[in-house]
């Protein structure tokens, strides 16, 4: 019998293709650097009002990032569950998932957020009154919690379609090969289909993340003090709309450009070797 020490993995070689990718990778970082540089120039040479705006708005940055990241992790999980449900052979499961996706995609996100923050608590209170449960009568919505709930509920519907497309893009032969080796459906998904599907859907998933990051600005209407809401507050107090919204836009641009670079980096890292 052959022993394993004869066959060691060959050392990783850098091919010309990889070098090329690294160059491309670098070039787009400059755009991000440029935007950061612009912010630095603005706050250095025109500290009034730009430095004031930045300081005022800066505590919204962490709120925006927190809301986006937490929602996105939840979206990844519920999107996968919904996506698998959409592919289920069981009609009722597929039906529920399809109705959910179609309904959610048909309602503007802003309206959904309004529902979760303003209407949902009042529904809970009425239920509490009807059943005389004191804890429900006194229910108050937590803005961040409702914002995350709203974003997750909406984006999971979109994400499920991304997962579904990704899974369907893997040839049927892969599932058949896995099953013919005796693997169960779940094992085949876990070890064969999903690892390949995730590579396929990485660009659209990254795109969803960046869209979610931008759409998180809508939570400013439901009392979450994110970048956008802090910008509105500053403008209301100081009446310098142009400078305020230029600064807010630049901050979002830093976040989105940075995210796009990270997505691209993961994509290059996980590309299939050929």
């Amino acid at each position: 019998m052959a022993t394993s020490q004869h066959f060691q993995p060959p050392p990783v070689k850098t091919t010309p293709k990889e070098i090329n990718e690294k160059i491309k990778f670098d070039r787009w970082w400059f755009l991000l650097m440029g935007v950061i540089l612009l912010i630095i120039i603005l706050i250095t040479f025109k500290p009034d009002p730009f430095r004031r705006i930045l300081f005022f708005v800066s505590d919204g940055i962490s709120v925006t990032i927190f809301t986006t990241l937490v929602s996105f992790v939840l979206v990844l999980i519920f999107g996968l569950i919904t996506g698998l449900a959409r592919l289920s052979k069981i009609t009722i499961i597929r039906g529920i998932a399809t109705v959910y996706v179609e309904v959610i995609r048909g309602i503007p996100l802003l309206v959904q957020l309004m529902f979760w923050y303003f209407a949902f608590p009042s529904v809970i209170q009425s239920v509490g009154q009807a059943l005389s449960i004191p804890s429900l009568i006194g229910y108050r919505a937590n803005p961040i919690f409702m914002a995350i709930l709203g974003l997750t509920f909406c984006y999971s519907a979109y994400m499920s379609e991304v997962y579904r497309a990704g899974i369907q893009s893997i040839s049927r032969g892969q599932m058949e090969a896995a099953r013919s080796l005796g693997m169960t459906f779940v094992q085949s998904m876990r070890y064969v289909i999903l690892p390949q599907a995730l590579r396929v859907i990485l660009p659209p998933v990254g795109n969803e993340f960046i869209t979610l990051l931008k759409d998180s600005s809508l939570v400013s209407v439901v009392a979450v003090a994110d970048i956008t809401r802090r910008g509105r507050e500053f403008m209301a107090a100081n009446f310098i709309p142009v400078n305020t919204w230029v600064m807010v836009a630049l901050l979002y641009l830093v976040l989105t450009l940075f995210s796009a670079r990270i997505v691209n980096w993961i994509e290059v890292k996980t590309r299939l070797e050929r």
Binding site: S4, F7, A177, S180, L181
Partner: protein
Amino acid sequence: MAPIIQIQDVHKHFGHVKALRGVSLEIDKGEVVVIIGPSGSGKSTLLRCINRLEEFDQGQIIVDGIPLDSAENINSVRTEVGMVFQQFNLFPHLRVIDNLTLAQTVVRKRKKQDAINNALMLLEKVGIPEKAYNFPLQLSGGQQQRVAIARALAMNPKIMLFDEPTSALDPEMIQEVLDVMLNLAKEGMTMVVVSHEMGFARAAANRAILMDEGMIVEEATPAILFSNPTRERTKLFLSKIL
């Protein structure tokens, strides 16, 4: 001893199209059976029914004493039956060695090192030990198909099914795959092969079967079926492919 594969009056349709209309076949342990026939004759469908990649509507298939009825039975039959596909269906995201060890560790619950040793032994057997740490897409078609055979063998199956294993290959790569199959046949593996490789059939097969329109038209030893068939349908088909 009972035949290792018993197919009894199996029917299968895709919508209105009847793919199989009452196929019965018994295959003994150690036998090599080659199935030929025009496309759409149901030969691949029959093969895929044996490990239930395709469900059938009527009839019964018993593999190694296990009837294909419950989900558990289907999984245990699949563990004992290796399958090789026309399009190889290697897992492109896994290195060759991981293609071979995945099912061993996940399904057979072997230790990682045992699985690796077994995989390397099999890669040696199919003649490409040096490709163990490459990815499938870095290999030629013939090499990929040999890896696919090794992957199926890694589960120590009692039966091997081949679904047109050389049809997607460049002509100069066909022989290397057939050689592996010939060796396997010599070792006494039970094999069901859907293929038009007459050379392989003559050299290795105990029986050749012609299927058409979802039925078995004629079965005989390869020598008789290919050179002296009794049915007109067989003569017509052979005249087209030879």
